[in-house]
């Protein structure tokens, strides 16, 4: 009985492999490249000279004080798109509570004047992918004063820029409000002068 099914099984495997593994992704690729080439190729951001700065969808590491900072990341050494990952630390993990979260809180308090007990929850936790391009509006608001101070700009003007780069819920309903850090920082660089090198290396 098993033998009789052998030829159909072998033939079916290869026929369906060609259809589902070749023809189907082929159709999708062609349609995607024709209809939505920008998105299909990674929503890349390029400089005027054609150099790729990154993808609007993938977060980057920001350490300098004149930029808004992305969330802590467990992807490789931080925002490594070839090693997407969360910490996978559980709720009673010692390292998570007393090293990762605690250090992030200490730094938010020291750098951004955050108040213990009022630190936005996304600011001191790692995302699931380690590539989160967004921060919450509360997280961005917490960083406004530092960015304004470093750039010698007024707090109100930076806050207004953050407001313009805050994305509400999609269609007014889905998901959560958020700020894309890479796009915000690019807008910062084009609207406000960067501090001198000595200042920015801190």
């Amino acid at each position: 009985m098993l033998r009789k099914q052998l030829w159909p099984a072998i033939a079916m495997t290869f026929v369906l492999m060609i259809i589902t593994g070749g023809i189907y992704p082929g159709i999708v690729t062609v349609l995607a490249q024709v209809l939505f080439p920008h998105q299909a190729n990674g929503s890349l951001i390029t400089t005027s000279t054609g150099q790729v700065t990154g993808s609007a969808l993938i977060g980057q590491t920001f350490a300098k004080p004149e930029y808004f900072h992305t969330r802590p990341s467990a992807a490789g050494n931080g925002y490594d798109d070839t090693a997407s990952s969360g910490t996978n630390k559980g709720p009673t993990d010692l390292k998570l509570a007393d090293t990762l979260v605690k250090q992030a809180i200490d730094s938010a308090v020291a750098q951004d004047g955050a108040v213990r007990g009022k630190v936005p929850s996304d600011m001191v936790t790692s995302s699931a992918s380690g590539l989160d391009p967004d921060i919450s509006p509360a997280n961005a608001a917490q960083q406004v004063a530092r960015v304004a101070r470093t750039r010698g700009a007024s707090v109100d003007s930076i806050r207004a820029l953050v407001g313009r780069h805050t994305t509400g819920r999609q269609f007014g309903f889905f998901g959560e409000p958020r700020v894309n850090v890479l796009l915000l920082n690019l807008a910062l660089d084009s609207s406000f002068s960067r501090p001198t090198t000595a200042n920015s290396s801190k």
Binding site: Q60, T125, S127
Partner: protein
């Protein structure tokens, strides 16, 4: 918890209810043969494969076809992964997949599990992703649907044990159901920013001047079947948390809808196939109640956050600008509500894709996915597998109800006697035996303890989750567990095979037995399977079978961890 969060969950529920009937009608037409617009392609496939589409297979032959097809496709994938370095479409020059991982991956994708011990972005070539993994995503889903439809035929016909033709069901499911829906869904995904290309990885120079390598690939086409086929295997390591795999809240909504849409529609279709539409809706209602209880619990737990982190200074209270709650392992664009919703749905169905890291959930938040899997993936469940798992529970319910009133139990006019109950019990027992025995052995062996990422009760939860997930053919993980060792690759791979085939064969046997029985007319003593009483009893049986079997293990994992978290204990 926020008002908007609850509204999103309720909106999802309403849309699910609205699409159930239209999708169910489509499913009916696919499997009763009345849909014919691809008939020429069908005919060519049957001729090439030497299949007689008019042959009505006895349950033994149907089961043989399932097993042989699975074995052949598993072997093909094993060798394709081992030979990946010399096969085409490998721009990043990936080496051969190691033997242990090639076996586990082939087993895991053949069984609709998609447990992954590798990182897609560093292990798999585009060729392997597309022609092997996505191929299994289609065929394991179509195979599950075929088995469920065969069961429906067994219940509804009197045909000397004949259940239809596996090759025809497999082909028609792939051609009419999955491919058209996937093409539409994939394009909706790309429009939102999901990638679909064959470029080599791109090196970017970041704003601060560092190098960042951006992974590329044909992601959208694989994503669509990943959800519609309840497979769950991610293109990238972070699965649907990766922005290229789930760029916006809208794609997130489409993904969770895609996971439930076919299993929910199939329940309606089942009601129509067995000529009792209200029975279909009664099962749907039981599934919905279990689903909603799960998501409410998970949302509550995650929104409440981690008191230990709150004591360190995190603001866990949600506001208009602060997500609050437990944001460890979650993305800002999804927040707490959509992460809890996704985690519940992906483990209700045997999908296993994740948009947040379950390992970092609070103990009760992580308990929900774990229990969902341990209930046997019957809450809508995997495509096909969810329905036939649920019908096993229905048979048990009818049997128990029959014993209570002292009558021969019957189900939709078919008498349930000892050989039917024996098959249902075999189905019910194989499942916890695999999970609990593998977990117990792993706790005792140094090789089992070596891969843990967390200490204390959470470490035990990682092991329990791994074997629950693989046996239930789910594939999600408490991903801290390092599954890439000979010990885990082998045992987890075996668990996926047991969870699929040691359960599918008794189920097909039961279907065959039922098909041999003649239809008895309904009498006053027949236990009605369309009433609220039936729904309550069914839920009761599911919870008692699941809860009593797994409670001791759960007490050692998430339950005790919850108490320890309250006491501020760290490991």
């Amino acid at each position: 918890m926020t008002v908007n969060g609850w509204l999103q969950i309720l909106f999802y529920s309403a849309i699910l209810l609205a699409v159930t009937k239209p999708v169910g009608i489509y499913v009916l037409k696919v499997y009763d043969g009345s849909m014919r617009w691809l008939a020429p392609i069908e005919r060519i496939i049957y001729r090439v494969c030497g299949v007689d589409p008019d042959e009505d297979q006895h349950w033994t032959r149907y089961a043989a076809a399932v097993l042989v097809f699975s074995a052949v496709s598993l072997l093909v994938t094993y060798f394709a992964l081992r030979l990946q370095s010399v096969l085409p479409l490998n721009p990043a020059h990936r080496d051969a997949v190691p033997d242990r991982q090639a076996f586990e991956t082939a087993a895991s994708f053949t069984t609709n599990t998609n447990w992954q011990s590798y990182s897609g972005e560093t292990m798999m070539s585009y060729f392997s992703q597309m022609t092997q993994l996505a191929f299994h995503n289609f065929t394991s889903a179509a195979g599950g649907m075929a088995a469920a439809v065969a069961l429906a035929r067994g219940v509804s016909r009197r045909s000397a044990g004949k259940l239809g033709n596996f090759w025809v069901d497999l082909t028609r499911g792939t051609l009419y159901l999955f491919i058209p829906m996937c093409i539409v869904l994939a394009l909706l995904f790309v429009q939102q920013g999901m990638i679909q290309n064959f470029h080599p990885y791109i090196t970017a120079t970041t704003v601060e001047g560092a190098k960042q390598v951006l992974a590329m690939g044909p992601v959208a086409s694989q994503e669509a079947i990943k959800e519609l086929g309840t497979n769950g295997g991610g293109f990238f390591n972070a699965n649907s948390a990766h922005p290229f795999e789930n760029p916006t809240p809208w794609t997130n909504f489409l993904q969770i809808l895609a996971i439930f849409i076919i299993p929910a529609g199939l329940v309606y279709a089942y009601g129509r196939m067995v000529k009792n539409a209200r029975h279909g809706w009664a099962i749907w209602a039981a599934m919905f109640i279990l689903f909603f209880s799960g998501v409410a619990t998970a949302y509550w737990a995650e929104a409440r956050g981690n008191p230990i982190h709150a004591a360190r200074g995190v603001d866990v209270v949600a506001s208009a600008t602060n997500p609050g709650g437990n944001m460890e392992g979650k993305e800002v664009r999804f927040g707490i509500a959509n992460s809890a919703l996704y985690a519940t749905i992906t483990t209700d169905a045997s999908c296993g894709c994740v948009n947040s890291m379950h390992d970092s959930f609070t103990p009760i938040g992580g308990l929900v996915p774990l229990v969902n899997m341990q209930l046997g993936e019957v809450i809508y469940g995997g495509v096909g597998a969810g329905l036939y798992g649920m019908i096993m529970m229905v048979v048990l319910t009818v049997f128990i109800a029959g014993l209570m009133v002292g009558r021969t139990p019957e189900y939709l006019g078919k008498k349930i006697q000892s050989r039917e109950v024996r098959m249902a019990m075999l189905y019910v027992l194989v499942f916890p035996a695999s999970i609990l025995l593998f977990s117990a052995v792993s706790v005792l062996l140094p090789a089992g303890l070596k891969g843990l990422n967390n200490a204390g009760p959470h470490g035990f939860s990682e092991i329990l989750y791994a074997f629950s997930s693989t046996t239930a053919n789910n594939g999600s993980a408490f991903a801290g567990l390092t599954g890439g060792s000979y010990y885990y690759n082998t045992t987890l791979g075996l668990a996926t095979l047991i969870g699929r085939f040691a359960m599918q064969v008794p189920m097909l046997a039961l279907a065959g037995f039922l098909a041999e029985r003649k239809q008895a007319p309904e009498t006053a003593g027949t236990f009605p399977v369309t009433t609220p009483l039936f729904v309550v009893l069914l839920i009761g049986v599911i919870l008692i079978v699941g809860a009593l079997t797994f409670f001791p293990a759960l007490a050692l994992g998430p339950v005790v961890e919850h108490l320890l978290m309250g006491a501020g204990k760290l490991y």
